[in-house]
Symmetry: C2
Subunit: 894 residues, 2 copies
């Protein structure tokens, strides 16, 4: 850039010195104006001072390079010539007014400064009056200019001007700015000028050229205002890009009945239908369309009012859509019969519209299938897969929590899992808990939606709800839950057991009463788009599923296997928990084995169901993972019960029984269960658990093979951090599997792998890969241990961190590439030095986050695994990652 | 080794084919025998079959290479010639008997096999009788040979032979083997042979050559017996070294009154005094000296009984000590007036002896100061720094736990911290807790020793007790503590409050009653040795100390600064806890600041005390680290109290008050506090805490500077995992410090650094080093997060892991080089790419572990910091690490 000599680029009247590809030098807006001008679309003429000048400005200690002012004067002449209406910048009779706008390579909406109506002063305002015949318009334009210039260029607080207007309105006893007449506005101009003098000790500049150079420098300075700096930091925009300055002739839609202004879309942004869509007002300014003082008319009306302009507009916008090959969101102004395009940009759209438009445009030959795949934001697919609050419904939001699992649901409030099961027989219920634990699973299963007062986006409640495809609002800290009294309070609102609540898991809103919801319409286009995505992507997508119902859902959503079956979820079933507890409370191996023997047929049946459902697709089964005390009554509850029994003089026998249970629970109690006796540490200390689970898996596989179906079991050992741990478990698995296969006379093709979810496992991944036939990154635990964050507890300060810019994202939601990503890449690399074709997946929550899916693709993972409802998102994100890798730019409009 | 052609090496009669340096090829024993023979020391002649042959044996599928047997016959002739007494191997009249022993490069005591008296059969036993004139001796030798050969070579269980002996003794109604006469032993030989025939279907081999080759192969095979394989794995000895086989002529000390046998040391191994030390028996075998059937005489007596032999022995052993330049532990046998040395090896010694011997030998010019430094095992210094159980006392050990903090102490048992404080006013007390928490600190401070039922070597109790230099036995799981009833039970023993217990923190023993203890005598030699160590080492040694008393101790022990001052320990003091609680319970910043204002003068006084004590040495102060709820009453206890109050119908007001406290405790409750809202996360969310602590530090520094003393404060931000965290805290610290310095008009030279204790901090260490002026590795937390182990909970399965060979060491005790060490090295490397001279320390528990200190030296750390009592250990270990780096071998005798 330092070598770039040309400081200014002209655009206007079918001509431009720049092009649409020069965003680096001209900024997004400047490049867009150049492109429109070049292809002959009428834009008000202007010029762009390059980003290179901005950088020079800073290099020179906030001074513009020599010769810039002279160049600007030369270019102003070009503008006057292009307009050809006799208007001249600074001319007292026919004054040309200008706008001065920032424009950097990446859009930074509202972060930098703009000045409009530049060129007005005590003399030129008279020329404007003469030219427009509209005194009020001219004085209004002038006072707006002073207000904007005073704030942006001279640094005076907006409130200063606001106070002066309020004073006048009060005196006149009117409410709206519109109620002020020309004389009022003229008075306002004088008052503004006096105030500026008072504050700054300087006169408001009358010389239009001084106005222009001061505004230009103000735009350069605004590149480094605190707002812009913060925005760039949060959005990873480099600070050395600089901003361009666009100086453009003003046009006015309020110069009479042959003038108008409007906005529109080339297709319906809500439905995606191919129809011209928008609205306009005659004799009005752009802001009037938005302000709602006059009701704008549908754009088709323009065809009757100004048929020629309308035809021209349709032709231009069609051309723009073809040119940009995407839906355009445009602004236009008609000044005395002449159409000017002020802006065109990619139109924002809803998720269903995005899908329809992408598929339609492929059919129309406008874009390729690859481009269509890139046109839809993966995360937005959630809108297509879950019911939403009816947008027409009137609602009263009483609290907001984290949008933990999307979808909307209404139901009667219950406060315990047991109540949920009971009440759900009669009515839909919403389960409200301070936080959930695995104990609550049956209640969550029975409820239509879940609310928790504590816990983050990856708390137990959130993870399980997403797995179930059920709406959940977590970490709603403003709610006080009183489980015993059966009520919750938020501020002054109290909601009792049995009252109706509605939750919107997509936004985190909690709404009082029963609100109608709308089932989304999943059109055929959705299926078409997903097929195109699947054809493109190279990374596999599996689902996390524990039971056949989830597995069926996963297949419906296109999963290519189960990447994570959490066997412990099977342990929490109502009929099994007592047996599991019996196993845990056993003090001898013998008694433990007796309980395990009872669990065996149940686990075998579970696995059989999964294998049959997946019919030949791989099923990764993780051996028992959570600490055993999760299956027992809570320690503190037992303590309370025991103490209360004693206080109430219950029988010695009853107390002794309770105390015995408490004693065992105490023995198993851990201060930090996340870092405690869990994962493979269980299977090592209690090998009989691993033996039972292996037996159940291999026996189930034998049963299904016998029926002539294919089975691909992958046995996964959790939480390995030491080479010998895997060696130990693998030996038990192989020995047990061999016994079963010998007994059954059937050979099962199974593999043994491990979770990589501890930093130490990453470090010794080369050693682990000697034994492991596959890796699956547990990025939840890896994030916990890399950061030293407990998923269950970190919610509070992570929110503080993201609010205060210490973290960009919650690392439990978006995979932290710098830290956790480093570990993932290191683990893949080390693992494949030992076993070059090592299959590597990821089964943390990140498997369903689009940015994380892209990272996984780049890190050369074999597959990602996520909850069934996120499978389509992961498929689309994986396809986009592949396309980007092939050099196709992202062109998703968010 | 494959090229090594020579299979056998001879030694004996002032001659040897090998040398003492050939341990690789001849094993330790073979090399030692060769060396002794070479320098003319009388050893029974023999030959060594090399370790290369052992490897060949395995390469050939358990066959010896061709020609080995022929070589052995040739070498046997050499032995016969060297002896020159007419004895010949296998000769019926003057049979030569042999021993066959293993011997690998590294000593593997008792792991491999030995056969003695080889060469006896029905014919040669008669020759032995004739030659010795001692029929009982000959038959006893024969039956022992059969027993040993039957077991080692023929694989018959030892119990088989034992049963036969028992039968005969029962029949004769005698108790000892010695009570059996020649006829009995002859009968035993026959019975043994019959039994062998019955079990193996083979005759016991009569051919001495067959006996010899079978024994040789048995020794080779024993290299891979399970015992040896496990031992090698646990001691990191490679499996491909192989064992040598030493075949040596037997000599007998029981051939009459001119024969004798004995053992001795060249210096007193208990005190280190330079005196000839040992004992002997005439007409006896080696095992008789040990067996204690006859009382051996002090070795000086030998000077009267066999003056010539005695002079020869003194001359030889003096020579050996000079030759090996260390205390020798030797065995000798006098056979019919001829002295034979059977073994000489480095003598084991107590820690005080090790120090004295090392210093004496430097004075004698025998070794260099560097060698002296290498002669003392750093960990053994613990014995010099703490009282020990009087070795003469009779004790009853009732339980064993982990040796968590060394030293011995007796006291009356108490079960709560408050009781400890109360009772300690009258009597010494031992505090017994299920586990300790920071709440117990005042009780631990008052007690003479601490016992916990739960927790590992790095549990809270262990860490704090070591810091206090107080004995502690942790994780004594066999004890059932009933705090409420005021008693503990171990099996059938019950100990009540007020009963005396004695604990030995160096061994983990818990002893009933009051046992006399002995204060160690720290001689001047200790100081001399430490001075030499300091002169050698290049790595610094600091201490972890929180209060002036600890700091004084640290300086006495030679610490060069404070590497870790844990400010939270100041928060637990009795007079402060209520204010700390007030701060935590504050719901507004304002109220929080009021409480902090009360803490400020207290913290300032603390720091002033530390700065004054350290007088110019650096003091690293860590800002508040633990989760806040550690300072509040326990959640479960409040729950119980509330429930009991309700059950007993307490007043509503009292219940409400308790519930309010419970509510706040609930809000702060965390499922995994180790991974929760702690460390710099506190100072970020509550910046007023960081401000108060910084103010206290800088104000204290100003006060001390004013007195003309030097101050070197290093402010350390804990638990950083994200770059912005440090940026945030640094800004607060710098701003606050500037304010204080401006106000006081004094400039304090302070630095700001951070703990590196999270894997993510390691990964971004280059970024962190931009802000941090020093790093301190918190290897406790780093071990927790790398492994996903909670220090508080992992005790149970870590013990299982080390017992079952899944882990070699508890990684909280010995720094895990493979995993955590990788992170330390990576962190140092990354940090120094940004800041080449970055000061890097370690302040985890590992700072006092010798192996970990050596690792830290290799990882180029600037210093280690450990509890004051371990400072001498770290100083010595650091010196040894430096010496080893310079190529001086370790020659510590353990």
């Amino acid at each position: 850039m330092a070598k770039e000599k040309k400081l200014i680029y002209f655009f206007g009247k079918g001509n431009a010195e720049g092009t649409g590809t020069m965003k680096d030098l001209l900024g997004g807006k400047g490049a867009g104006l150049a492109e429109m001008a070049k292809v002959g679309i009428p834009v008000p003429p202007g010029f762009t001072i390059t980003t290179a000048v901005c950088n020079l400005y800073y290099d020179l200690g906030k001074r513009v390079p020599a010769g810039l002012d002279a160049e600007m004067r030369k270019y102003m002449k070009k503008i006057e010539a292009a307009l050809g209406d006799g208007c001249v910048f600074g001319d007292a009779n026919r004054p040309l007014l200008m706008s001065v706008r920032s424009g950097s390579k990446f859009s930074m909406p509202g972060m930098m400064d703009t000045v409009l109506n530049l060129g007005l002063n005590s003399r030129t305002v008279q020329g404007l009056i003469a030219r427009t015949g509209n005194e009020r318009f001219a004085w209004d334009a002038y006072r707006r200019f002073i207000q904007m210039f005073g704030n942006v260029v001279m640094g005076i607080e907006k409130e200063v001007f606001e106070e002066i207007i309020q004073e006048i309105k009060k005196k006149k006893k009117v409410r709206l700015d519109l109620d002020l007449d020309a004389a009022d506005l003229k008075g306002l101009v004088d008052k503004y000028k006096a105030k500026i003098k008072q504050i700054t000790k300087h006169e408001f500049p009358q010389d239009p050229w001084e106005q222009l150079t001061m505004s230009r420098d103000a735009v350069f300075n605004s590149w480094n205002n605190p707002r812009a700096v913060t925005y760039r930091r949060l959005n990873n925009i480099p600070g050395n890009l600089g901003t361009a300055v666009n100086v453009q002739a003003m046009v006015f839609g309020n110069m009479g009945s042959a003038s108008a202004t409007g906005v529109g879309f080339t297709r319906n942004p809500s439905t995606g239908a191919k129809e011209f869509y928008g609205e306009y007002l005659t004799n009005a300014q752009g802001e009037d369309v938005v302000a709602g003082v006059r009701t704008p008319r549908p754009i088709v009306n323009l065809g009757k009012e100004m048929p020629q302009v309308y035809r021209q507009l349709r032709a231009i916008t069609s051309r723009l859509e073809k040119h940009y090959r995407d839906v355009q969101d445009f602004e236009f102004t008609v000044q005395e019969g002449t159409l000017y395009m002020l802006q065109t940009r990619t139109g924002k759209r809803t998720a269903p519209a995005a899908v329809k438009i992408a598929v339609d445009m492929v059919k129309e030959g406008l874009i390729t299938k690859g481009e269509a795949v890139l046109r839809v934001e993966p995360a937005s697919l959630d809108q297509l897969l879950h019911p939403v609050i009816d947008p027409k419904a009137k609602i009263e939001v009483i609290a907001r929590g984290l949008p933990a699992s999307p979808g909307a649901a209404s139901g009667k409030v219950v406060f315990t899992a047991d109540e949920a099961v009971e009440q759900a027989k009669k009515n839909p219920v919403i389960l409200v808990r301070p936080e959930t634990t695995p104990d609550d699973i049956h209640g969550m299963d029975a409820a239509k939606g879940i609310i928790t007062a504590r816990g983050g986006m990856t708390s137990h409640a959130a993870v399980v709800a997403r797995g179930m495809g059920k709406p959940c609002v977590s970490g709603c800290e403003s709610i006080m839950v009183d489980t015993k009294a059966g009520k919750l309070t938020v501020g002054k609102v109290t909601v009792k057991k049995g009252d109706y609540l509605t939750i919107d898991g997509g936004t985190g809103r909690i709404i009082i009463g029963k609100v109608p919801t709308k089932d989304p319409e999943v059109s055929g286009d959705f299926g078409t788009l997903m097929k195109w995505a699947d054809a493109v992507r190279t990374m596999g997508v599996r689902a996390n599923a524990d039971i056949p119902r989830d597995a069926r859902m996963a297949r419906q959503f296109g999963a290519e296997g189960i990447g994570l079956c959490r066997t412990e979820h099977m342990f929490f079933a109502e009929d099994r928990l007592p047996i599991v507890q019996q196993m845990i409370l056993a003090t001898t191996t013998d008694n433990r084995e007796k309980a395990l023997a009872k669990l065996l047929p149940m686990q075998r049946a579970d696995f059989k169901g999964l294998f049959e459902t997946m019919d030949g697709l791989p099923v990764t089964i993780r051996l028992l993972d959570p600490p055993l005390h999760e299956f027992l009554p809570k320690r503190e509850e037992l303590m309370v019960e025991t103490a209360v029994m004693k206080a109430k003089h219950a029988s010695q026998a009853a107390i002794a029984k309770k105390e015995k249970l408490l004693h065992r629970v105490e023995e198993l109690h851990e201060l930090n269960p996340m870092l405690g006796h869990r994962g493979c540490r269980l299977g090592i200390v209690f090998p009989e658990i691993t033996r039972m689970q292996t037996r159940a898996i291999i026996e189930a596989a034998c049963d299904v093979l016998k029926k002539g179906k294919k089975v691909v079991p992958e046995i996964m050992v959790p939480l390995v951090g030491i080479g010998q741990e895997l060696t130990n478990q693998k030996e038990i698995i192989v020995t047990t599997a061999n016994e079963v296969m010998k007994r059954r006379g059937i050979t099962v093709e199974y593999s043994i792998g491990t979770m990589i979810e501890l930093p130490r496992a990453v470090i010794i991944a080369d050693t682990i890969a000697k034994e492991a036939e596959f890796f699956s990154f547990g990025t939840n635990d890896l994030t916990q241990t890399a950061y030293g964050f407990s998923r269950d507890d970190a919610g509070k300060f992570i929110k503080y961190y993201t609010d205060h810019g210490i973290l960009e994202n919650d690392p439990f939601q978006v995979l932290d590439e710098e830290g956790v990503g480093y570990l993932v890449k290191l683990g893949v690399e080390k693992g494949r030095t030992t076993r070059p074709k090592l299959k590597v997946g990821i089964c943390g929550e990140h498997g369903g986050d689009p940015a994380s899916v892209e990272f996984c693709h780049k890190a050369k993972l074999t597959y990602v695994s996520c909850s069934p409802y996120r499978v389509p998102i992961a498929r689309l994100a994986a396809a986009q990652a592949r396309l980007k890798e092939k050099g196709m730019g992202a062109s998703v409009s968010k």
